[in-house]
Symmetry: C2
């Protein structure tokens, strides 16, 4: 049996989820907290790597090791709290069978990219939204976003030089919604290539600004050419919002 | 002429607005930034003191000194930005006559107290909401809040030992609203005694929890006895939300 752990974190202070030597990462913080609680090192695996500065409203990881199966896993959020920094929170947890795989069993993930669309920063959104001071037309953004929905080879929307695995993914939905002076772009897919959400959202902004023509989007996708897609937006506007598994986990 | 400056700030890192020796305060940060911009010390006055850790979504201060009246004051937000820490933002600014007083000309101020009403913390509301894990009934909170609206002697709702100035204030409105797992309490008055909002909100929670009876509220107010009112809630849930002047300032 493994313990499945639902986390939320403000990624501002972390070099992403994955352990990278001695750098502060979420995986390291969670591993250290579990070590403090159980007195043994557990193997912690995450549902996704997230980049430095990316946030998560929902993130799953599993912990495995010689855990006493009598441990009431649903008490973990309260038991581990004192060992975690304030910017990482365990929302819930429970036992899952060894056959459960926190990464491969994901059906789809939803990311949100948050844009602060005004000329002046907001002290409550520092490192939590991307300040974009030019006009944003959600109508245009949504028309552009619709062109990406479905199954495509997203090679043009992957950080150049990254990975060699397959680049065909299926986007379930992709849309932008304004609330006051923020614009939240939500995108869900069965998987994402490296930097894909940040490049997709940069492409929407480039269509909004007229740098890329709406009519050219199918051609940009078909080209598989990174140089024809939009800019990679900064990490601090990005949130992993929701992770949905093939089987219900709670 | 003075420059009227509209600020917003995350107060987590500051010992309130008012200068206190060498401690980091918002007044000191703004004064230092204006000094860097203009090359001279200006006299900065605020619309309110705020306590250590209290936030402001809207706060006004004025800056006076030998300022060149040709300076386009409405450019200040952009000009001063590079000299301010990220958690303090100048939203707008313009020239006002010397007769304008940033504190005495306030008609009323609105504060918000933000409660996170769930059992587990939220990494995005650390130092920005008060975690209250017990049931909150907004109906009861609102019934209790209505008892305070109007003109009363609020001595029972002032930090004991604070100030000797008059303690009669007029509350314009006072109500609680739930959005998901947060409850926002808003209160507006022509002035507030020291810690008054935090004690009023603590009193609402004590009525909610049954520690203070609804019927006793008029008696608690009339007693002018601090010991009969509720607890002082922590500063980090409190926001100065809006400041309204006798005359329109923008």
């Amino acid at each position: 049996m493994k313990i499945l752990i639902e986390l939320a974190y403000d990624g501002s202070a972390y070099h992403g989820f994955q352990v990278q030597g001695d750098k502060p990462t979420v995986q390291k913080a969670v591993g250290d907290a579990l070590f403090s609680l159980f007195g043994q090192r557990l193997s912690v695996s995450g549902c996704s790597r997230t980049d430095s500065g990316v946030h998560a409203r929902q993130f799953f990881c599993t912990a495995e090791g010689a855990l006493p199966e009598s441990f009431p896993a649903e008490r973990l959020p309260f038991a581990v709290r004192r060992y975690l920094p304030e910017d990482i929170v365990v929302l819930s947890s429970h036992w899952v069978p060894d056959s459960f795989h926190v990464r491969y069993d994901v059906l789809y993930k939803e990311y949100e990219y948050l844009i602060l669309n005004r000329s002046i920063s907001d002290p409550f959104l520092v490192k939590r939204a991307y300040l974009f001071p030019y006009p944003v037309d959600e109508g245009i953004m949504n028309e552009a976003a619709a062109c990406f929905v479905g199954t495509h080879d997203f090679s043009a929307f992957r950080a150049s030089g990254s990975g060699t695995e397959g680049s065909v993914r299926t986007i379930k939905y992709f849309s932008a919604q304004r609330r006051g002076d923020t614009v939240a772009i939500k995108v869900a897919a069965d998987g994402f290539l490296y930097n894909m959400v940040r490049i997709l959202c940069g492409t929407l902004l480039d269509v909004n600004s007229g740098v890329i023509r709406m009519d050219d989007i199918p051609g940009v996708i078909a080209s598989c050419d990174r140089s024809r897609a939009g800019a990679t937006l900064p990490a601090h506007g990005l949130y992993l919002n929701r992770v949905v598994y093939r089987q219900p986990v709670f």
